[in-house]
């Protein structure tokens, strides 16, 4: 888990309550046995650069990035001094809004805009009101960086004040209240994240495939498709794997092939059944020299024939097979008449 703050003041309580060490590879990054903490600095550039650098260093050690920070409200409907989540995170690009947005908490009522400069100097305040409810300086960039590393990312914003053109003492006010803000962030963190161990793919059972010979693409297939099947079917697959492991009569390669067929069967029972019907239909008319192929996606109503002819008998067999081939039955299956 990586926590990202713009300023040290906001993270004060985290430093006080935990012995955080400076990371040897990056002086803005701190860590202990439970989490990592980054002080990314203010603004989009700083947060994009420093979050990216921190994730690049930590990469496999973290799955979740959490941004805590102060935000201003554009509308009086947003509650002050409360930590809120954002529904969507937008940003601006030069003089207009940037198209690319990020979804954060679908249940939230508030949309956040990460602005290019401090809002009190910003003439775009009226435009921002068309798109969002709160403004900050970092969240969009932290999301951009985290998402590009395919990390889960969340943002929690403490609303310090309502943003108006007249407001001139924002920074001073944030500095004065930093202990109070930091306390709220720490309470939130303690309640929601601390002591919760990150579990990678905890929903997915780790399959024991040591007794199998698995190629890269087969591994990808199992990794992508096993989690999609229902819990009951997962139980079936687990039992089936045990059976396969105990079976000394088939090779490791064949075990993998059977396992993949079993997963496909559970994933696409209708398609699998139809393929089985077609295979049964064609099997009688195939041998070592004659082979029929059909579109496994079941979209095309055609059969492809491969035949090896070495003698007159081969020709006679081929003619017999073709004469007897139940092509109409094959077409009926493809046309939904089965």
């Amino acid at each position: 888990m990586l926590l990202v703050f713009a300023h040290r003041g906001e993270a004060q309580l985290f430093f006080e309550n935990h012995k955080l060490k400076e990371h040897p590879a990056f002086s803005k990054l701190y860590y202990n046995s439970e989490f990592h903490l980054l002080l990314c600095g203010e603004g989009k550039e700083n947060s994009l650069l420093n979050t990216t650098r921190a994730i690049a260093i930590l990469n496999n050690k973290i799955n979740l990035v959490i941004n805590y920070g102060i935000a201003g409200a554009l509308e009086p409907t947003v509650p002050l001094n409360k930590i809120i989540t954002s529904r969507t995170i937008y940003t601006e690009k030069e003089s207009e809004m940037k198209f690319h947005s990020f979804q954060d908490d679908k249940k939230s009522k508030y949309d956040l805009i990460t602005t290019n400069k401090r809002i009190l100097n910003d003439s775009n305040i009226e435009t921002f009101k068309n798109f969002g409810h709160i403004v900050d300086r970092e969240a969009w960039a932290i999301f951009m960086s985290s998402k590009s590393f395919k990390k889960e990312v969340k943002s929690f914003k403490l609303i310090s004040d309502y943003t108006t053109h007249e407001k001139q003492d924002f920074c001073k006010s944030v500095q004065e209240h930093s202990i109070e803000f930091s306390n709220k962030f720490y309470e939130h963190f303690e309640l929601n994240f601390l002591n919760k161990i990150e579990k990678e793919n905890e929903k997915n059972l780790q399959l024991n495939l040591e007794s199998f010979h698995v190629t890269f693409s087969q591994k990808e297939f199992i990794k992508n498709n096993y989690p999609k099947i229902s819990e009951n079917h997962k139980e079936f697959i687990k039992k089936y794997i045990k059976e396969l492991i105990g079976n000394q009569d088939i090779s490791k390669k064949a075990k993998t092939k059977n396992l993949i067929i079993a997963i496909e069967q559970k994933l696409k029972p209708l398609t699998f059944k139809l393929q089985e019907n077609i295979d049964q239909l064609l099997n009688e008319f195939q041998n070592g020299n004659i082979k029929f192929q059909y579109d496994k996606k079941l979209e095309k109503t055609e059969l492809k024939l491969t035949a090896t002819i070495e003698n007159k008998t081969n020709i006679d067999t081929l003619i017999t097979y073709l004469e007897q081939l139940p092509f109409e039955k094959f077409q009926n299956i493809l046309n939904g008449e089965y």
Partner: protein
């Protein structure tokens, strides 16, 4: 229903705009902007924000107002066109292709329907009685869901009563037929209803029940209006045969199915973008299936044998309940 209303500056005093605003709640804030594209789709606004953060844009459609439809569109082999009366829909259907189509779920309502009428008149002139043209209202929005706010239905009824070579299809999932009932029936306007069984209620949010839609269909038929039916998209689910059979039975008990101008049947299908959106927005939806495959036109569908079995079953059930075979067509197959 709406959080904010955005109005194009030049339409500030437009009679249609003033009428629509007057019919909405007074507390909805109205913002005036240069053009609707200054805000609409300017940022990627997630589709599910339509549940609690939906804005209405009142705008004037510029450029091409009427577009030729792709092949295999509509009932007859005549030329088909669709036109833009609105973008996006107040309803929320899990299978809806609009979730992958626009970058915002906000509603844009075009108030310059007289300009659309001018283009329609021109195309009508180029057509003939032997080779009429079809116009479809509702390609990017429900034709009737917001019709009580505007006068466009009245306008189109008056327009089409003067056109000899054109048909208009109003396509809806609503029961908002008040505006239609206030008009004189014309033979060349068909109000078509999209229906699915009540077992799929959770998939179609905020939409009146099939029973209420069937009642609305009956009322229009009884009052001399032309009505069509779309059983599209058909979604394969537990007890699918029984559920669709009961729906067709309910239809046939409400009115003779030969009263319908046409019936279309189509099995659920997605572009890659809209399927990605479905998985993101409704990961547990019954509309998705591991059986899906990429089919002949690049769309994601059930494999051919499964969808043809579904189509054949529904077609047979319709015929069994008195629907003439010649009014049934299979959509996008």
């Amino acid at each position: 229903m709406f959080n904010k209303i955005f109005v194009e500056q030049e339409l500030r005093n437009n009679k249609n705009v003033l009428q629509i605003i007057s019919k909405l709640k007074k507390e909805i804030p109205v913002h005036y902007i240069e053009k609707y594209t200054d805000v609409f789709e300017k940022v990627k606004k997630p589709y599910l924000q339509k549940q609690n953060n939906l804005n209405l844009f009142l705008a004037s459609k510029k450029g091409e107002l009427v577009k030729e439809a792709p092949p295999a569109y509509g009932f007859s082999k005549n030329k088909h066109y669709y036109f833009f009366h609105s973008l996006n829909c107040i309803f929320e259907c899990e299978y809806c292709y609009l979730q992958g189509y626009f970058n915002s779920p906000d509603i844009v309502y075009f108030v310059n329907y007289e300009d659309v009428g001018t283009e329609i008149k021109q195309l009508d002139k180029n057509a003939s009685k032997e080779s009429p043209v079809w116009f479809h209202m509702g390609e990017f929005s429900d034709s009737l869901s917001l019709s009580s706010l505007s006068n466009d239905i009245e306008y189109y009824f008056k327009l089409f009563s003067t056109l000899e070579n054109s048909f208009l299809e109003l396509r809806t999932k609503s029961i908002n037929i008040k505006q239609i009932l206030a008009q004189n029936p014309v033979n060349n306007i068909i109000t078509s209803f999209t229906l699915g069984p009540s077992s799929l209620k959770s998939v179609e949010k905020k939409i009146p029940s099939p029973t209420l839609r069937i009642k609305a269909m009956r009322k229009l038929i009884e009052n001399g209006f032309k009505v069509g039916l779309h059983l599209d998209p058909v979604i394969y689910h537990d007890n699918f045969e029984k559920n669709y059979f009961e729906l067709i039975q309910e239809l046939s008990e409400s009115f003779e199915l030969d009263n319908l101008k046409y019936i279309s049947i189509g099995v659920v299908r997605f572009t890659k973008d809209s399927y990605r959106q479905l998985l993101q927005n409704y990961p547990d939806s019954v509309c998705q299936s591991h059986e899906f495959t990429t089919s002949f036109d690049g769309k994601i569908r059930y494999p051919r044998p499964i969808r043809l079995k579904i189509l054949n079953y529904i077609k047979r059930s319709l015929v069994k309940h008195g629907a003439p075979e010649e009014i049934i067509y299979l959509c996008m197959e």
